[in-house]
């Protein structure tokens, strides 16, 4: 199994290294100015030299990301359960959820800054707005995905609504819920970083990107992008790992074992 795993990792690693090599060679051979596109070596050096700054930025942004992610996903889930109980609420809340998800971040971010201040709370608020609807839609779809036969079985056991929910409908909804959780990791990162463009104390990944662009320190911009990319990937991988544990029974996992 380990050799199979390794064989799976080799192509992406090789491809990534090839891209970096072409980038480095291209920038040097074509004498591209560093303020347009720095070579990967310069970015790596800048990253190594700026660890305290980048760590402080990460610290600031991640608070907004995690708080917003948790609140937004939880709110979406709770509303989905409420909707499940009441058709009236479904017809009322779904279109509103749809509207809220369509609001552009660049519009709501300044408003959130005005309401919640310059610190991470306003970024969390933006992330809540962005992550609410995906979770709502997926949880509603998941809760209605239990088969009719299984629901009838629960009825024959005399299970009430809550017992059916906990024993049957929630587990069956898990693939959908984790789908939303994975989408929300990306949205949370984007939301927090972009919201930081619109007002922040002078620390944070979004702040770093926007000010270093203004100072023409593009290698620092790329270093921040690398940190954001690694954070986002690790976050996604974490959620995917939990998903694997919780929904081990799902057919999509079986195929890989063969």
């Amino acid at each position: 199994m380990t050799s199979g795993r390794l064989a799976n990792l080799l192509p992406p690693i090789a491809f990534g290294l090839a891209v970096l090599a072409v980038w480095e060679a291209g920038v040097r051979l074509l004498h591209v100015p560093a303020i347009i596109l720095p070579p990967p070596s310069a970015i790596a050096m800048r990253l190594a030299a700026s660890v305290p700054t980048l760590a402080a930025d990460f610290n600031q942004t991640i608070r907004g990301v995690l708080a917003g992610y948790a609140i937004g996903s939880l709110a979406g889930f709770v509303i989905a359960v409420l909707i499940d109980r009441s058709q009236f609420l479904q017809r009322g809340l779904m279109p509103i959820g749809n509207l809220v998800s369509a609001l552009p971040i660049v519009g709501i971010a300044p408003i959130m800054v005005m309401w919640f201040g310059f610190d991470w709370q306003s970024k969390a608020a933006v992330v809540v707005v962005m992550t609410f609807f995906p979770m709502l839609v997926n949880a509603v779809a998941g809760l209605s995905s239990a088969g009719a036969m299984e629901r009838d079985l629960m009825k024959t056991y005399g299970a009430d609504y809550w017992q059916t929910l906990l024993a049957l409908r929630l587990p069956v909804a898990m693939p959908f819920i984790f789908n939303a959780l994975k989408i929300n990791t990306t949205l949370a990162m984007i939301g927090a970083i972009v919201a930081e463009f619109f007002g922040t104390p002078i620390v944070g990944m979004g702040f770093r990107i926007s000010t270093e662009v203004g100072r023409l320190q593009i290698d620092m911009v790329w270093a921040t992008i690398v940190v954001a990319a690694i954070t986002g990937s690790l976050f996604y991988a974490l959620v995917a790992g939990v998903e694997r544990r919780v929904t081990f029974w799902h057919p999509s996992y079986r195929a890989k074992e063969a």
Binding site: I35, G117, F198, G199, T200, S210, T211
Partner: protein, 332 residues
């Protein structure tokens, strides 16, 4: 065959003659949106001063987070309006931009505080929350704080800094005790928001002795090797300064010209009239030539800003040139 050759030759001759009379194209990138801060250029365009110098000028307005240095280096403009600290910092990073003219003699940067915060002198700023623009506008502030001995990273005994957007909300919403304003723009936005001058405490960077040169014209160094380009820029500077002179003599007409050129429709006559009056104070007395004493003062300010992140770390070499203004106005 001979007939088509004649037609072809005739066409070529007409085209060549046409090209000889075609005006030289110039693209100017402004530092901010189309408003009275750049009235001189819009006046020069609309009153035909550029046309008289055989120039066809395209004026590109700037905006939030548009760094003129990037546009210049990226080839998006022949000449840009920029502040000297940002230009010198960019030059040190390898963007070889050179100051060719300095229409703004005075600085309009100030820090406006609410009087109810109890701040009366710069020393009182300690421990307060201050709003600062970034995107190249933070250098004079960082310089001043270094002089006052206040750290800006939020450590105790220093000041707390927030990245202010290009509006005055942090002051009005009481999220900051002081914000950065220009004498000609944001200060009036605060007044228009209902504050009386008696409710505000204003620190003018010039009065504090930490002002740096603001709106100047910059081009890429390698382009100055071409004498035709130098000649083109000389004509451009001459016509632009004529525009500034006109704006000082006829401010109401200049405001109308600026409003006509504002494609966003966001500017109001009331605001632009105030702005024009203040801008005219900043350009008064400037003939376009860079005052070398003022340049040295700005460089000294930036070199002494010290700290872990100095604006510039060494004396700039070749950051300005007089060849353009010498050609435009004759050697001083």
């Amino acid at each position: 065959m001979k007939k088509s050759l004649f037609v072809f030759a005739g066409l070529a001759a007409i085209l060549a003659a046409g090209a000889a009379h075609a005006a030289d194209k110039v693209t100017l990138q402004l530092k901010w949106v189309a408003d009275a801060q750049f009235a001189g250029y819009y006046v020069a365009k609309d009153k035909g001063f550029y046309k008289d110098e055989n120039l066809d000028v395209t004026i590109k307005p700037g905006g939030p987070d548009i760094a003129p240095e990037q546009v210049l280096v990226g080839g998006g403009a022949d000449v840009v309006v920029d502040w000297m600290p940002a230009a010198l910092a960019a030059r040190e990073k390898g963007a070889e931009m050179v100051n060719i003219a300095q229409p703004f003699k005075r600085s309009g940067l100030e820090l406006t505080c609410r009087a109810d915060t109890g701040i009366k002198t710069p020393q009182d700023l300690k421990g307060h929350t201050l709003g600062v623009w970034f995107a190249g506008n933070e250098y004079p502030f960082l310089n001043w704080m270094a002089k006052l001995g206040f750290k800006t990273d939020g450590s105790p005994g220093g000041v707390k800094v927030i990245k202010q957007n290009f509006n005055v909300d942090p002051l009005i919403q009481k999220q900051a005790d002081c914000i950065s304003t220009m004498t000609y723009n944001e200060y009036w936005q605060v007044i228009d928001a209902g504050y009386k001058p008696s409710q505000l405490v204003v620190f003018n960077y010039t009065d504090e002795g930490v002002s740096t040169l603001e709106d100047g014209l910059y081009v890429m160094q390698d382009k100055l090797k071409d004498p035709a380009f130098v000649d083109k820029m000389a004509r451009f500077v001459r016509a632009s300064m004529k525009g500034w002179d006109y704006a000082r003599a006829h401010p109401a007409e200049a405001v109308k010209i600026v409003l006509d050129n504002d494609s966003t429709g966001a500017q109001t006559e009331h605001h632009q009239t105030q702005m024009m009056a203040e801008i005219n104070k900043l350009t008064a007395g400037s003939d376009g030539r860079l005052d070398l004493a003022a340049y040295q003062q700005t460089v000294k300010e930036l070199l002494s800003s010290g700290g872990s992140d100095p604006v510039i770390s060494k004396e700039p070499v070749g950051a300005y040139t007089t060849v353009v203004t010498d050609k435009a106005f004759g050697k001083k």
